[in-house]
Symmetry: C2
Subunit: 635 residues, 2 copies
């Protein structure tokens, strides 16, 4: 079976380019597709807050509720702002697009770098949290969690390489099942907690952990900020809808905006519900079992609902990981199109997906999972940082856009690079909200950066500028190449002249080298055959063969180079360089290399690969045309 | 710093081919060079016997002495036989040469395969035993023994790549120091054991291990055979001198024979001495400390002499490993010269050593060390098997040679393929001894094979025929190639005709592709430019550029191929195949590929490598000459 067949079985038959279609989503499915990421953060966001507070003992966990409300307000603010973005960028207004259109290249690249980092984290955090949902329910699998996580990445990668679309229906199942399961848990939990309808109150954890630490003043505030920073992971994935407005049915922008509102309501309900119950049941975060798992177990027992919630927590988290597989390759494509990333990220594979981007993402995400041992809580300090930077940049961009709109008169329209803006009312208030949003999210970005710096935020803080620098370097390279290749300034006569010389390096006279000599003679009447002589015996032997084929070698010049070392390619390259520099400077000279081509790969190991090595040595010199005359040597 | 500079610092300045010299050894140094391997086996041979007997409890260890004497007799027999070999093959008579000269190709390849396996084992066993000498003295290093062993291999490989000769002086130090140290230990031990000169008798181990196993009849004999097989590792390395007769000073053969006798006496003295004392002090073999280390400690205390013996045990064992580095590349060279191994094993590196052979050996030996966790005792069942097969083949060869000599009349000489034989007296007895030797060693080979089969001998039993098969396959390939390349049966007119067509696949019009077109036009008046069109827009764009450079593109034919998939190389290859098969069957057709050449390696990642991929796809088709027209794109 050849590689091609194997690939076909694995990936499927190639799709023709013209077969590309775009599925449009209704609001129900749209919510499922885009909301899996933000809704799924409920699996870990509350825990991320509690994990910080627990240092002060379980008494301090009461602070989870106000911090949770602060996070919820932030979500509200961001959603309101993004609704503006959606309405003004109906073709898709991710942070990269909005910043580019309003703030310029560097801010847009900052946003892009932050987003790329975040998409990778979306995959590794969601997969790890999904695996944790599984191991919370089945603790005997805990030892294999890295392997399970890597297997999950492999499967998701494979599905995406096959090019299964963001099929709303597939997404809908785990997303809505998760929402229903958690809602039921919250309702049952609340009812039992308050003893409404005479329900028996649940046992509240008795064993209160008392910390030896007691903080005051600045240290206490610092701890609260860190806990708040942990909760901010709930904001990840909110911006996905703004990228995908065009995936909605007509009227796209309105449907997208409505979906965003619904998403916000659902995500916040779950977040506040989980936070409220987790605090009032005084659950203690620990590594073996997630807070959500503890909560469900306590509220509903280890019964059907418990396993329902765990299974669909894993399900929605894997769906959330899948959104990374949509976003990362798409953003890579945009960046590659603008020459900020390698061109091959633009290529679409057999199934019309950006295969290179998908594989790149899978590799980075797997790396993170291995480094962080599939522990999503330890990855969270890296997460949300990039998102917050994007929010801030995106809203700063909207602030700028609103400024332009404020100058429009009724009925007037203006075309930016990407979108069309019209006169509208209440711009002033919207603009203030954007400014406020940009400021707040930037402050949160700083809080995240400083409070989580030592825990891993430094990696992201370092990575983002490095990425931006790389983007610029790549752009510079491509600009340079295209300037060099450009025909705009060129006249036909300007092309490099081709020297009338052909050099044929050979080791011996055999059918392969005679074929090369014969070919060379067709190209030029100045054919020089170079051979390296290491001792008198081999010289005599060579000349004997040479004279036998005088008919072929007639009219060529034989150059015998004596050499006392064993690396026979060096004197050949030196000879060619010498001829090029002395006799034909600034002209293209031609080298004909006779090459054995063994059919089987295994036979290749039996030969010295001299032709290949000579070719790669010559490639680094300018102005040498290499001709490989093949000679198949397997039977 | 470039790779070349790095290599120079590591390996040293290249030596010119003509600088090769041969150092000749006197007997003292010759003994040190060739005897390190057989003498060093004393570090583990006795232990290998005891390790088997211990199953029957420490009482059974008394059998070590008769088994040791049996091994010593075998050594004597082999040495006597090899003296004949040395005298009759003064140019070097390894088992490969002698079998080839007397028994034919297959026996010689069996010997070669067995030797190659054994040389690898010489390295890994000696290194592991050397490391064990170190860890016996310094038990805190035990956890790192694999790393120490690999480091030792790295150092020995590096020394050999630098081409330090078998400098007799370097070898002399550890070899003689080891011999003196162990002899002293044996003397002190014996004196103290018998209480001669009123020395205080040593404490003899009290704790006798009583085994639950008690064997009778066949099972007991089987166990004794297994113990004997263990002791046979003492025979490894004996044949080294026969390979290296020419390394001795004049008269080479006589000096080599005398050295062989001296080696036998020393090795046997140590072996019997160690075996005697180890048994009478009832030492118990265990993994943490070698028998030799226990013996030295008991006989002389943990003082100066103890550390002396341990240090030089490690020293002589590393020297023994080094002999593998001399023998393996040399035998590989012989096999490669006879076309039984890949040709690159014939190439000598910068320092005139067979670098490829050295590196191959290092890789295999490291592999064994990792697999067997640097535990020489568990590698021993694989060892000695190959040696014994070689002894048997070599003596069978000598038996055959003696038969020829027996037919000579006084004064008559006869030339074999390799050596010259004369009439000599007593041939009959020598011949009987050779027959006896061949028979005995073959029996021992069978004993080793059967008694150690399950412990690892099966690996060697499987590997040897596989290697022989590989040798033949390689030979067949080379014969085939040389027949195909042979000019003997060829007439000049027979060369494949070159079709008057040049195909230039291009993606766009730019300086690089114009350069290629311009080059192609020099070669032929039938230039076809192929470009793949994926949509109407790109077609229009392409034609616009095309028309602009009509001066260059004049007199060429443009082929626009429409294609609805993304793998643009497939239609190009199809087009070329099509032209080749339909229009120019059995002729060489020429394809000119414009190629970007980024100067920096990092820039290569930014391009699609289309030219390289097209080249490797076309390479597998016959009769296509590939011309790469370069275009440097870095500034």
């Amino acid at each position: 079976m050849e590689f091609g067949d194997f690939k076909r079985i694995l990936i499927g038959e190639p799709f023709p380019t013209s077969h590309e279609t775009h599925e449009r989503l209704d609001k129900i499915r749209g919510l499922a597709v885009f909301a899996s990421d933000p809704i799924s953060s409920n699996a870990y966001a509350t825990e991320a807050i509690m994990n910080v507070l627990i240092v002060l003992g379980s008494g301090a966990l009461a602070m989870t509720i106000p911090l949770g409300l602060a996070v919820a307000s932030l979500v509200l603010l961001v959603i309101l702002s993004y609704i503006q973005t959606i309405l003004h960028y109906p073709d898709g207004g991710g942070a990269y697009t909005v910043s580019k259109d309003n703030l310029g290249e560097t801010p847009s690249l900052l946003a892009a770098a932050a987003l790329l980092v975040d998409y990778v984290l979306t995959v590794s955090v969601s997969i790890s949290a999904g695996v944790r949902a599984v191991t919370s329910a089945f603790p005997e699998l805990t030892d294999y969690k890295i392997w399970i996580a890597l297997l999950a990445i492999l499967i998701i990668t494979w599905i995406n390489l096959r090019g299964v679309r963001e099929s709303g229906t597939i997404f809908a199942v785990p997303t809505y099942a998760f929402v229903i399961g958690v809602l039921l848990t919250i309702i049952v939990g609340t009812v039992r907690y308050f003893g409404i309808f005479g329900a028996v109150p649940m046992a509240v954890t008795e064993e209160l952990m008392v910390s030896t630490t007691s903080l005051t003043g600045f240290a206490y505030i610092w701890l609260l900020l860190r806990a708040f920073a942990g909760g901010c992971t709930a904001l990840t994935g909110i911006e996905a809808i703004s990228n995908g407005v065009k995936a909605f049915r007509y009227p796209e922008a309105k449907n997208a905006a409505k979906t965003m509102v619904a998403m916000g309501i659902i995500a916040m309900t779950l977040f506040i519900g989980i936070t409220f119950l987790a605090t009032h049941l005084t659950l203690i975060p620990h590594e073996a079992e997630s807070i959500l798992s503890q909560l469900t177990r306590r509220a509903t027992g280890t019964g059907f609902l418990y396993y329902w919630v765990q299974v669909f927590t894993a399900g929605i988290l894997f769906m959330a990981a899948n959104t990374g597989y949509q976003d990362f390759p798409r953003l890579s494509y945009f960046l590659a199109r603008d020459n900020f990333l390698p061109r091959w990220l633009k290529n679409r594979g057999d199934r019309l997906v950006f295969s290179a981007g998908i594989v790149t993402l899978a590799l980075f995400a797997s790396m993170l999972i291995i480094i962080f041992k599939a522990d999503e809580i330890s990855m969270l300090p890296l997460y949300a940082l990039g998102v917050m930077l994007c929010f801030s940049l995106s809203q700063a961009g909207m602030f700028h856009l609103m400024g332009k709109i404020a100058h429009l008169k009724p009925g007037e329209t203006l075309q930016t690079n990407v979108t069309e803006i019209h006169y509208e009312q209440g711009v002033k208030w919207k603009r203030i909200m954007n400014a406020f949003g940009a400021l707040i999210t930037f402050c949160v970005f700083l809080i995240l950066l400083f409070t989580k710096f030592r825990e891993g935020a430094w990696i992201v803080a370092l990575l983002i500028p490095i990425l931006v620098y790389t983007f610029y370097s790549i752009k510079k390279h491509y600009t340079n190449v295209s300037r060099k290749l450009s025909t705009r300034t060129m006249e036909s006569a300007e092309l490099t002249a081709v020297a009338n010389i052909v050099i044929v390096p050979i080791a011996d006279i055999h059918r392969g080298s005679l074929r090369a000599i014969q070919y060379a003679k067709r190209l030029s009447n100045d054919v020089r055959i170079v051979t390296i002589i290491t001792d008198e015996e081999s010289k005599a032997e060579f000349l004997k063969h040479w004279n036998r084929f005088s008919e072929v070698t007639r009219d060529t010049k034989l150059e015998l180079v004596e050499y006392d070392y064993r690396d026979l390619l060096t004197p050949i390259v030196d000879y060619i360089k010498h001829v090029n520099e002395l006799e034909f400077p600034d002209e293209l000279i031609t080298v004909v290399i006779p090459e054995f081509i063994p059919e089987r790969l295994s036979s290749r190991l039996l030969h010295n690969q001299t032709a290949s090595r000579l070719r790669s040595m010559l490639r680094s010199y300018k102005d040498i045309v290499i001709i490989e005359v093949p000679f198949q040597i397997d039977s």
